[in-house]
Every structure is written in C-alpha cells, then in structure tokens.
C-alpha cells in the first residue's frame, strides 16, 4: 500500500512536472542531400565498401588520437566524368544525450571540403548546424590543431557536441587517409 511518504514523494515532483518543455529530434538531411551539398559537381557517388583491419584502426588512432569504433564506415567516392573529386564519409558521434549524425567531404589531397549535420537530436546546441560554425572546418588537414576555443569556436552549453564533432572530423580525415585511393 502507498504510505504517506510515497504520496509526498509524488507531490515533491510537482514543481518540475508543471513546467512545459519540448523535445527536439531532428533529421535535417538525407545522405543523398549531404553528398550533393559537399560535392555539387559530382555526377556519381559510388559506395566504397571498407572493412578496416587492425593496422588501419591503429593508424587512424595514431593520426587523429581518436579510436575509430565503426570498422565498416559508410564511405562514398564522389565522381565527375569518371574522375574522383573526393570522399563523403557519414559518421556518428556522441552528443550530450543522443548521437549526432554528420557527413564530412574530404578532397583527394586530404582537406576538409565541408561538414554537414544530418541529424541533431539534442534540445540545445543546435548552433553546430549553423554554416558559420561548420565553415571553420573547411580546408583543414590532419596538420590542423582542431583545438576547441582555438581554431574551432566552442558553443557554450553544447561543449560535448562541439568537442566530439571536432574530434570526429579529425578522425574522419585520418580514416580517409587509410582507405584505398
């Protein structure tokens, strides 16, 4: 039987239960749309099946300082008239509560062509979708610092999302460097 203590426990939650809130769960781009945004001149995106071996995983860790957990990453080669324009890699990193799905375009010489956010499901920190924030990554290479509050501006209240996206872009540059040309 519910005793008086339990009643008080329910009453105690009333102040927060009265507050209205909304939960955001947003898918902004399909993979196809992201591919087109990253390589507008491409006429074909060829899937590049990759199964990373231990040596490649270790190389990615050495180059980026981060662990590549997905051994079968989603990679497409952007092509125009049979010529390779670069790679599109779709990946996920941890946000505060949910996973963030993003895509990075990498040029054949190992530079970031662009970053697109496909899904951002957090209630806060949606500013990572802003072109100004994403444009900070354009042209970056594995030699870039990728330092939050250094060459990459942090967003207050979304530091984990910024941290993991920044690390993620660097890791995908390393991944692009180990897959077959």
């Amino acid at each position: 039987m519910m005793g008086p203590t339990r009643h008080w426990a329910l009453l105690a939650l009333a102040p927060v239960a009265l507050v209205e809130t909304r939960v955001l769960a947003k898918d902004y781009l399909t993979v196809e749309a992201a591919q087109k945004l990253l390589f507008a001149g491409a006429d074909r995106f060829a899937a590049l099946p990759v199964k990373l071996d231990e040596a490649q995983i270790a190389r990615i860790k050495a180059l980026s300082g981060k662990v590549q957990r997905n051994r079968t990453p989603a990679i497409w080669r952007a092509q125009a008239g049979g010529k390779s324009l670069g790679l599109v890699i779709v990946d996920e990193v941890l946000g505060k509560h949910e996973n963030i799905t993003y895509a990075v375009g990498v040029s054949p010489d190992g530079k970031v062509v662009g970053v697109e956010i496909l899904s951002y499901r957090e209630a806060y920190g949606g500013q990572v979708r802003l072109p100004a924030w994403r444009a900070q990554f354009d042209g970056k290479t594995l030699a870039s610092p990728f330092k939050l509050d250094g060459d990459i501006a942090n967003i207050s209240g979304a530091t984990l999302s910024c941290r993991n996206l920044t690390d993620g872009v660097r890791r995908l540059l390393a991944l692009a460097s180990v897959v077959p040309a």
Binding site: T5, W8, V16, V23, L24, Q136, S144, I152
Partner: protein
Amino acid sequence: MAFRNTLAVAAAAGIAATSMAARPAHASEALFGYLYTTEVMPAGAVEVEQWVTDKIGQENGHFNELQLRTEIEFGVTDRFQVAGYLNTKYQNETATPGDAGLKFDGFSFEAIWQLMNPYKDSFGLALYAEPSIAPDETEFEFKLLAQKNLLDGRLVLAANAVAEWVVEDQDNITDPLTGHVIAAGGTEKISELQLLLGASYRVAPNWFLGAEYRYVTEFEGLGFDERAESANYIGPTVHFAKGKWFATLTWLTRFGANDYGPQPVLPPGSFEPDVTTNGLRLKVGVSF
C-alpha cells in the same frame, strides 16, 4: 595561423549573433545522486531541480525521513553558477511527536566555480560552496569537485572532497516514558569530511548506469577535533535524460560503520537522522 584564428573568432561572432533567439542553455544535469560533476550551466541558463532523498532504516529500528529540496540554478557566466534551495523534510517514524510530518528545513545557497572544463581541458575541476540556514541549524559546505571523461564522454569518472561545518541548537532530550531529562540541550558543533567517488557509463543514448561510493567521517567541534563516527556507503545509480529533462536515481547502502568515543544519549526508540543505513535519492530536473 592568424587567418585560422580570425576564422574562429568570426565563426564565434556569427554563432553568437545568429543564436540570440535560441539562447544556449544546457543543463548542468546531475549525472549522479550524491556526487557533483564539474559541469556548470552557460550564462543566462536556468534549471529547476527537485530532489527527493529517502533516508531509510537505522540499527535500532524502523526509520524513514524524506528530505525534499527544490532548487533553482542560474548560470551567471559560462564558468560560474549559483543556486537557491528550499528545503523541507517529512518524517513518518520518530520518538519525538513534534518532529513527525512535513517540516520546513531551511534555505540553502550554492555557488559553483568551474576552474577547468572536462570537455576542453584534460580533466574538470570546480570549487563548490553551500551555506544553509534552518530553524535549528546553520551549516556550511565546501567541496572540491573533479571529473574525468573517457571514451568520448561515454564513461564519466567523478570525485568530490567535502568539508562541512554544522552548528545545531538542540533541545533537552527526555525519556518519553518518564519525562525525565536524560541529556541537556545546547549548541552542538560538528565538522565532517566526506570523500565521494563515482563512475557512470553511457549504456545507450539517453541512459547512464553507474555506481557511487561515499565515505563520511564526523567530528565533534568545528575544528575536526574529536572523531565521533565514520561510515561507508555504496550503491548503483541510473540516469536518464532527454531534451530538457533528466532524472537520476541512486541507492546507497551502508557498510563498515565505526563509532569512536562516547556515544550520544538517545531515549529509547529514538533515532539519529544522519546515521541511516540506506539512502535513496531521486533528482528530476528541467532546464530553460
């Protein structure tokens, strides 16, 4: 390098300018029930939390005290937040009839200053201060908070070192059967040290599962003069967060308790609310 820094500054300015409508406001949500992490809210953010702590069981019989704390947090800067608490308690078992039922238990004020950010620095570090004023008690708590995130934030380790000073007005203790005074009242001064350790792992999106450990040792006098008792607590914690909401539930059970020196005189069947054998804490919060 100068160009890159200019880009970063321009991006920051652009983000700030275009996000005025969507004010950055992330909860410094409680990942643990009894431990604090070093995360604070950004400037201008507000969060409301409701704490329910059920102190259950004592060695000399059935005991249950429900502590209720309603908290409002506010981010003053991106590294400094303040909070106010309204404290109440509800006792359903006590030897003193006047203590039963729901009672006002004072106000608390809290300030947390983040020295190092766990996402930007190698680990997080923060200072915490909390004065409390209750009808029969004045208390000050100081904490050193540390946090280390591993595996991209999947695993969060936290440690708190706590010093606490309490000045408490005590009534005469009387034997409920005879009505005789068996211990005179007065002002009791206590100091306390605590060490808390916790680890929580993100088992799935929105869900963290972990464990907390708490060591408490209490001293007579405000200068940690004479050690009176110590106890260890350990138990599981579960945390769920989605959108602007979070809930954290922690259960702690006592082991390895020790008493030092003469023990306080208690009338038959009475309890010491601070020496419970188990604790259950629920925190529910929403941010704005």
